[in-house]
Symmetry: D2
Subunit: 133 residues, 4 copies
């Protein structure tokens, strides 16, 4: 069971083609990743201020299969594919009902929040991300 | 002669109503204010890092007269209406050819960049903003 | 009792000043207005496709009292101030706990969805907006 | 020589991490693709209204090598990698001076503007995209 987060499509998300603008799905996916971390007990401002780390996106691959439209009720999933060292790879989908509209693979890197250099993901995070559903 | 900055409307700016989304005109107006300051010799990162000040918006009044659309070539004007103490009021329009689409009045406050408390606009800025066209 | 809608602040909403970018509060306010209409039984895509009307923003006045930051849990209120003819004025606040950060007044106009010309707000909408809390 | 389009980083583009928000580079890349088409004589509103076609993004791969910051003057390149049938693959970079910050590969599909079904890229576009630098 992947983690899933609901997202409603508002006017701000759409473009004059009548569909959600392609960059905005990356916002939806980031909201879901933030909520996925929160659901596992990790607040990103605490990670930054107390533990001096941030997760920054290093690579995205996104396939746009079908468009979402104004007022759609979407679900955005987060499923860890590989966690280890300084990096974290998650697979994400944006779906309407059971239809996947977007399929993506996002690689994030754990960095020192001041110097922006990669550092190992702390053990207390690693353990939770590896074992939580 | 008010300062004017060109803005092209891209897909990102529009919504499913086929027009520019109402919040995005505030982005256009901020771009024009940033370029207006730059044209007068003030880079905001230097103001923050060297002079420890930032301008933050305290109030906006915006009248939406007519919509802009995808591909429109717009002009965004900046005209100081009142400069003094810690605050700066500018009048701005967003126009297509000579037709004003948006008319706005924006009040910004000069703040200490660390504590976010209002401080007097430094004299070297005040003099330039009062005398430059 | 005003209608209220929760909004979480994500990375997308913030800027390099460490606070929510000033235009993005207008997105939050539009989300709350969309949900306020939905809670009263009005879906904007149905209003457009079946009843041939849209509400477009004609004027906003926004006072920025204090900044919101990453991860803040905000509440956005909608309270109708005046409904009549073709126009609708709502008062909105964006608050964190009980502290108002943003106070706004938004005027929307009911327009023909094809020709974008003002038309009277239909009676079935007017009655609901006047009587619902 | 790839086509290149200048983009200035404004407050709207940044996030509370002090850098450009990862989704916003996709806006920069779309602006450059729109200007690349315009420079070759193709206005997208004319393509839609007269020729009944649109280009929609089918896939993006983006590598984030280094962050851009407020006030940076960036260059966004567009270089066609493969043009044929209904699809168009372009390689894009976002650079500051000569340093590439972002490297991307974007696949767009030519679709019928009404039914959103893939159609062959018209010959008059294909010829220009294949021969123009």
């Amino acid at each position: 069971m992947a983690f899933s987060w609901p997202v409603r499509v508002y006017w701000e998300d759409t473009d004059a083609g009548g569909v959600v603008y392609y960059a905005n799905y990356l916002k939806f996916m980031e909201r879901a990743r933030s909520e996925w971390l929160r659901a596992r007990g990790f607040e990103q401002d605490v990670l930054r201020d107390v533990h001096n780390i941030m997760f920054v996106v290093r690579r995205v691959e996104v396939d746009y299969l079908a468009p979402a439209r104004f007022n759609d009720a979407l679900d955005v999933s987060v499923s860890p594919a590989r966690v280890g060292g300084a990096s974290l790879v998650v697979e994400q989908t944006v779906s309407r009902d059971v239809t996947p509209l977007i399929v993506a693979r996002v690689t994030a890197v754990c960095v020192d929040a001041v110097r922006f250099k990669p550092v190992k993901i702390p053990a207390f995070i690693l353990q939770t991300l590896e074992t939580a559903p």
